[in-house]
Subunit: 310 residues, 2 copies
Amino acid sequence: MYNIGIDLGGTNIAAGIVDENGQILIKHSVPTYKERPTDEIVADMASLAKKLIAESGLNITEFSSVGIGCPGTIDSKSGEVVYSNNIPMEHYPMAQRFKEHLNLPVIIDNDANCAALGEYTVNGNEAKVFILITLGTGVGSGVIINGKIFHGFNGAAAELGHITLVSGGKKCTCGKEGCLESYASATALIEQTKVAMSANNDSIMHEIAKNEGEVSGRTAFDAAKQGDNTAIEVVNNYARYLADGLVSIENAFQPEVIAIGGGISKESEYLLKPVREYVQNNGFNKYMKKTEIVAAKLFNDAGIIGAAML
Amino acid sequence: MYNIGIDLGGTNIAAGIVDENGQILIKHSVPTYKERPTDEIVADMASLAKKLIAESGLNITEFSSVGIGCPGTIDSKSGEVVYSNNIPMEHYPMAQRFKEHLNLPVIIDNDANCAALGEYTVNGNEAKVFILITLGTGVGSGVIINGKIFHGFNGAAAELGHITLVSGGKKCTCGKEGCLESYASATALIEQTKVAMSANNDSIMHEIAKNEGEVSGRTAFDAAKQGDNTAIEVVNNYARYLADGLVSIENAFQPEVIAIGGGISKESEYLLKPVREYVQNNGFNKYMKKTEIVAAKLFNDAGIIGAAML
């Protein structure tokens, strides 16, 4: 049997046909155009799914379900998007509306949860507790316990970007002060880079940013690798923030694996090595097996695969 | 059927016979004398259990098991205390040694986990996710998911006293900087009280402490209730630290209930009301059912009951 996984993003709708082992047979994407009525977006999601089914040559009876990863707060039981800020939705009956176009069982969940389930399915090695942390515009996360998404009592658990890192610290987009996201997202790194650049006119980060046309999450890493002291300090501070958040997550969940995804994770060992060292040295558990910290491998496909595995 | 629950503390060994509903039939305690060889402590634990059985008039066949709550890092599978600092133990085969004295199945777990399970059993109302936070010398905690202690992959999860509250902040006894425990334990509150007293000679906290012979976790609360501004500030700051930690816990686990135990929880609504307000206003989940924050009810019996329910 096969499942269809749909990853509803602010920019694109990505969808694929996924087999029982989490392998994508075929996939496609179309623009979301998120400002239009949600019903139109859902119609396009369903068209995409139908196109995939037609192309695959498979019969509709060979499909078990459609899984949809949506931004925002999701009520998986009712199939409703309770609230989403990114693609504006409020108590939107996503599963029901989708089913009006394509008569298969529809299961929806939060997009970060789906990405975690996708990464776990392909690279989780059956870890008892598996956590994906995605460093992007924000800090996304999903917690997989015994192969299932951990939802808490109300469906909204695993918002690890919003654990406190600095009590009374920087204001986060969520309204609270000092969230991990305000220090460890790509957005935060870019801001930290800009502050350091302003204070250090001789940093080669100015040249790098000029050549690339912007300050990005890579600017400080690229300059640090060339020995730029200002950039090295930016990277070290950033790694420390991230690591301090990961220690909290380790002490709370003792996951067998934490996978780090998102653009910044492409820095791979240059970032992960110091992070891993800090976590190893500062975790509360000094006497039992340790959490493994690895780079995520699936990138954009994680959302499709995870949605399909719902 | 009945179980025997034993709570091995640094000062006392407390034990009780507990029925299937978590009610204690009889209980007793003896001093631990923690400096002596652990084998002697275990012999006393077994004697206490035997005494309870004899007093109860029940037959040994009416008992299913003995549960033991131990300080430190526990390997429940092997029945071993991997490491304990409080009562010095390292790879100590607790379950096996106890069984040499009393031939019943023996299950061991961390004492804070047992307290959480005990509180959950009696006052948890079948919450899907239930967390006990104990504000004492340290900040203890246990996480109960679907009625079972959450252990993480290695048995050491739910050390919520050691999530980061202030990155790079005060050094914690665990070695890391900025742990919740360093700001929200009774020890931390006493320290915060003393600092405020030193800076404010006219605070009535001086008089209260003099009358009581010491600065305690109650000093600031007692003075605040009498309108002492310095004390009010101490209490407000303390409540904010605690609340900020609880928001992290809420955003990570979305527990149905967080119960607050330990001596400071006796301040009840005077502490819990502002804490609850902060958590309600700052939790990431603004659109789903909220975590309930309540005072724990069992105090010292939680450990016995939880151990018995293992």
